[in-house]
Symmetry: C2
Subunit: 221 residues, 2 copies
DNA sequence: CCACGGGCTAAACGCGCGTATAGCATCCTA
DNA sequence: TAGGATGCTATACGCGCGTTTAGCCCGTGG
């Protein structure tokens, strides 16, 4: 039987190299020879162990998912953007890589993306419900959708990091950018952004009007 | 000289086909022969007119940017998520395509991505400052970063639409998903999510502690 | 009427990359 | 010690795709 006990074997080195490359460059841009070079093996061995590039990705998906779920279970619970991002910035390189891998998977709509998203949304929803129950969070008209929104904001910050960092005048995504993003986000989560509920009511009315097919979609009257 | 007057020419058909393919499948996954087939021309003509695949992308970038900026100038001003998304859902297919193209460009960190993001963030920031000045929006500790956050949320909703729609139990991103996402977002923008400012203060304190190198990053004490 | 030039096509070239094949070393088993 | 399985490499095959080339069609000017 193959040496499937744990790490340090060549299979694991290939898998870790693949995770790093997929996370950094995406699945398509990465070629097997680069992965093999990083792992210090030949290109043929990758196929020998994993069968194909797609199978290799599946193995990476499984490994990252299992690692992240385990970490989320006993480490901390990522509720909003600030938790996920604080973890992301403060933890060792391996964890950063795993999160970036997951973001890539979602971005490229990998088969495993649904599992990633579902897991995070479920966890986020659970925390929201607990917070609402104990009074630390406001009730929401749609807790599930709010959980999706939380996950969305967290992942998007990582996903579109480079251009957004440049929009803030920084060369690349680093702790300074993170800090500048976390504070307004928490202010938004704490006080909201609008001074009153006029936009909310207006949007509700606009939506109902748009739902009514007898009305034109023109809204400025 | 080539027929560079305006549209309806083959150059424009190729460019539009390329925009559609790049927006839907991304730059790398799209091959020139597919673009040529959609445009009803041969593959060689694409190169003949644009020189290379990268030059073609640049032409698409320019065209989409010019179209979107013109539209944003005289049509409406995308302030928060709800405005961009309402535009996105209610407007004709062409506009949807352009927005999706822009999201792809940012996602793939195209050279033009910085221009796209800067334009949107500038516009968003301007609206925020106006809203704060006239009292319809709350003051922020970092208006620029808040503008980035707004753009981020808007784009991310489109960017990661498929897995997020599935997380809400829908097959694909459509009006129902949009509605479920807009309401919690507006509630968040109106009331915030936390019941009090304890998380905000805690995060501020945690950040200052993490900034101090004499302190360990352990935060649960 | 003829040549010329640009829009356009079909076919081919070259290369990168995923994958298959053949062979070598090593280690376990009998 | 023979023999086979396993880890691994080097090399080659095949294909997809960006790009190039040669040439056709056709309108235009002399």
């Amino acid at each position: 039987m193959c040496s499937a006990q744990s790490d340090l074997t060549a299979q694991a080195k290939i898998r870790n190299a693949a995770i790093a490359h997929f996370a950094r460059d995406g699945f398509q841009k990465t070629n097997l020879r680069a992965i093999a070079a990083t792992a210090g093996v030949s290109a043929g061995l990758v196929i020998h162990h994993f069968g194909s590039k797609d199978k290799l990705r599946s193995a990476c998906d499984d490994h990252v998912l299992r690692t992240l779920v385990r970490r989320a279970r006993d480490d901390a619970r990522p509720a909003g953007m600030q938790d996920v991002l604080r973890e992301f910035m403060s933890n060792p390189e391996e964890y950063r890589l795993q999160v970036q891998y997951m973001v890539r998977a979602i971005e490229e709509d990998t088969p495993a993306a649904a599992t990633f998203v579902d897991t995070m949304v479920d966890e986020s929803e659970e925390i929201l419900r607990a917070g609402i129950a104990d009074g630390s969070m406001r009730p929401s008209s749609d807790v599930r959708a709010l959980a999706v929104l939380n996950v969305l904001i967290s992942l998007a910050t990582l996903n579109m990091a480079p251009p957004l960092a440049r929009a803030l005048g920084h060369e690349r995504f680093g702790p300074e950018v993170l800090r500048r993003m976390v504070l307004p986000t928490l202010e938004l989560y704490t006080h909201g952004m609008y001074a009153d509920d006029a936009p909310l009511k207006a949007a509700q009315a606009a939506w109902e009007a748009a739902q009514d097919p007898s009305n034109s979609p023109n809204k400025d009257e």
